[in-house]
């Protein structure tokens, strides 16, 4: 038994770990029905979607081979354990990019599909699910299936955003997006409050990539102050892919460096950087993956770990909902290193349990201070629920069964498609005692 934790490092959870080096080995592991099983990629989800206490865990990071890559059409098929880090380094020099990237490139393709990830271009590109052509799935029955919109369509829909519950994703085929350079032309604009954010979002409709960073400790009229960042692919600048992170946190920071005082000071300083405002051309790596620059940054929160709240709230009353959420974080003064606020568009996903909805999304980290942090998260979840929104399973460690079911009415269909030999701590938590 090995102890495994997710990115939030809230708990060390024992698992019977297997790490197959080839797909044939992986299929054999899936066929065994001894103990409930779950696949685990690079462990970048925050809560318990990737954990299966006392059960079997199949770590997929060695299943990272390319199966085919058409350099003319940009169609690539790869084993699901390949990281986006690795994939990008392979395809960028040939003028191709992932159509959707999440906030870190250190996730596996399988994990990205299982969580139906979204990125800064959600308004135009939707989630990753919209760009998938086919999936290869291995079930515990021994079946190995190809899933597409036409072939096994219900299983295709259930597997996208399906949290790994329908089977082991063996390979993924997707359509990459063409790029003329690895650079991004971006503009950073200071925003004074929440109304300014929505005005900027409205004025930025012809920018494919948009996101805002917000000071979660700002109070009252200043709620929502921060930076609005928008970007588009540059036409020139070369096709050099990214390199490895140069700095890393080599060990746990005892007590954690990140608390209300240090974060408040950081926010004040970060807001005033004059050099950050305005237009500039930068490489895709710092534009899409700024936190990846510091390897193992999650250790900055110390051995107690941290929580993430990420919610999607509908357009109806969006300003008020976001204001209430930010007012809660300021009141509790718990602070967060990175607070992301972004609009979601209405491009639908083929996934059953897809997280985004037309409206806005807010994402924040909270150092784990025990009960007080959980209380804050519950209160924020209540605001989200009341507004008709939902929380992101990939980030969640605390959502209630009621919140989950209200947010994802299609959950029963996923449960019907779930491979009986697969279970996760998350699914156990949010569906326990369900009829």
């Amino acid at each position: 038994m090995l102890d495994v934790s997710s990115w939030g490092r809230l708990r060390q959870v024992p698992h019977e770990v297997a790490r197959p080096a080839f797909l044939d080995e992986a299929r054999v592991l899936m066929r065994s029905q001894r103990n409930p099983v779950l696949c685990y990629g690079l462990g970048r989800s925050y809560g318990d979607v990737c954990l299966n206490e006392n059960g079997r865990l199949i770590v997929t990071d060695m299943l990272d081979r390319l199966v085919s890559f058409d350099r003319q059409t940009g169609v690539v098929r790869a084993e699901a354990g390949v990281s986006l880090d690795h994939l990008l380094r392979t395809v960028v020099p040939h003028g191709w990019f992932m159509p959707v990237v999440p906030g870190t490139k250190f996730v596996t393709l399988g994990g990205a599909v299982a969580n139906d990830v979204h990125g800064k271009n959600h308004e135009t590109a939707g989630t990753l699910g919209a760009h998938l052509r086919a999936l290869g799935l291995a079930r515990s029955s021994g079946e190995v299936l190809t899933l597409t919109r036409d072939e096994n369509p219900e299983l295709f829909a259930a597997t996208i955003g399906g949290l790994g519950l329908t089977g082991m994703i063996l390979w993924v085929e997707l359509q990459l997006a063409p790029i003329r350079s690895a650079m991004i032309d971006s503009e950073t604009i200071a925003i004074d409050d929440l109304d300014a954010f929505f005005r900027q979002a409205d004025a930025s409709r012809d920018w494919p990539y948009t996101v805002a960073w917000v000071d979660c400790l700002a109070k009252e009229r200043a709620i929502g102050r921060g930076f609005f960042i928008r970007g588009r692919a540059a036409e020139a600048g070369g096709l050099t892919p990214h390199g490895a992170p140069r700095i890393g946190i080599p060990f746990d920071i005892p007590g954690g460096l990140l608390n209300g005082v240090t974060i408040g000071a950081f926010n004040a300083f970060y807001r005033k950087r004059p050099w950050a405002l305005g237009a500039r051309r930068l490489h895709y790596d710092p534009f899409f993956f700024p936190l990846d620059a510091v390897a193992r940054w999650n250790r900055l929160y110390g051995p107690r770990g941290f929580f993430q709240h990420q919610s999607a709230v509908p357009m109806q009353g969006v300003t008020e909902t976001i204001r209430k959420l930010l007012a809660l974080t300021a009141e509790f003064a718990e602070g967060s290193f990175l607070v992301v606020l972004k609009m979601f568009g209405d491009r639908p996903s083929p996934g059953l349990l897809s997280f985004p909805m037309p409206g806005a999304t807010l994402a924040l980290d909270f150092p784990n201070k025990g009960e007080s942090t959980r209380r804050l998260l519950t209160r924020m979840a209540d605001v989200v629920l009341e507004a008709g929104g939902r929380l992101y399973p990939a980030k969640d460690a605390t959502m209630s069964r009621a919140a989950f079911r209200a947010g994802y009415p299609a959950w029963r269909q996923l449960e019907a498609q779930r491979d009986p030999a697969i279970m996760s701590d998350f699914w156990r938590r949010v569906t326990a005692g369900a009829a």
């Binding site: 790490r19 080096a21 080839f22 081979r65 390319l66 085919s68 890559f69 690539v76 392979t90």
Partner: protein, 247 residues
């Protein structure tokens, strides 16, 4: 460089990582191993990454009696490669192998006997004067006889001494012999050992060091570099200190 590389033991994690790096340079490959399906998936991977050609040959590399015949078959089918990498091996449970002689026999034959015979077979019928690089993947375990791992270690040590002699023989000729000595590497071979900590390397780190060594023609490569310091120390410890070491 569009070299053609013969990889003996192509399903090894280090071999895959090395082949990937060379594929990006446009090299061609002949992959040899026992599992056709696994070799096929590696071949597809290398092709997608830019390899100019990838061929597959299914052979049991450890079958000592068949080596000469298998080498001739490779030569007939694929001609003479520009580079050969000996990447296969087997790591036993030392305690079990001490009691089970056939297991100990297999370890020694796989890691030393067959590797040495393959090397001789590949060099035997080569056109003289034609550039050739032989890369032998050894191990720091061969640098000194330690109670914890001497069956594997001595087999690797034997092969290392063998390659050293070859290096002297071919010095000054276009045939280069490169000895690679990894320390702890995170691969399926070391699945039974507790991993983690600064001494552990990824297959890709080792592959990067190999790629550099081949490009520069270095004779001996400890990978990562700090193993040179560690093994230099361990090799020179006086017996009364060494005998107490629990490594």
């Amino acid at each position: 460089m569009t070299a053609r590389i013969l990889v003996l033991g192509a399903t090894s994690a280090i071999a895959q990582a090395y082949a990937r790096r060379r594929a990006a340079e446009g090299c061609g490959f002949i992959l040899v191993g026992r599992r056709e399906d696994r070799l096929a998936s590696i071949a597809a991977d290398l092709g997608a990454r830019g390899a100019s050609s990838v061929e597959v040959q299914v052979t049991d590399l450890a079958a000592v009696d068949k080596i000469e015949e298998a080498a001739r078959a490779l030569q007939a089918r694929f001609g003479s490669p520009d580079e050969a990498v000996i990447a296969y091996g087997t790591l036993p449970d030392q305690a079990a192998a001490e009691l089970n002689l056939s297991e100990a026999h297999a370890v020694i034959d796989t890691n030393f006997t067959s590797a040495a015979l393959w090397t001789l077979a590949l060099l035997k019928d080569r056109p003289a004067g034609r550039p050739f690089t032989l890369v032998g993947i050894g191990s720091v375990a061969g640098d000194r006889g330690r109670a914890s791992n001497f069956i594997y270690g001595s087999a690797k040590a034997g092969f290392d001494r063998f390659l050293e002699g070859l290096a002297q023989k071919y010095d000054g000729t276009p045939t280069r012999v490169i000895r690679v000595k990894p320390g702890f590497v995170d691969t399926p071979m070391t699945a039974g050992i507790k991993k983690g900590g600064p001494l552990w390397a990824t297959p890709d780190q080792v592959a990067a060091d190999m790629q550099r060594a081949v490009a520069k023609g270095r004779r001996v490569v400890y990978t990562p570099w700090f193993w040179w310091v560690i093994m230099m120390t361990i090799r020179h410890l006086p017996w009364f200190v060494f005998k107490r070491l629990k490594v």
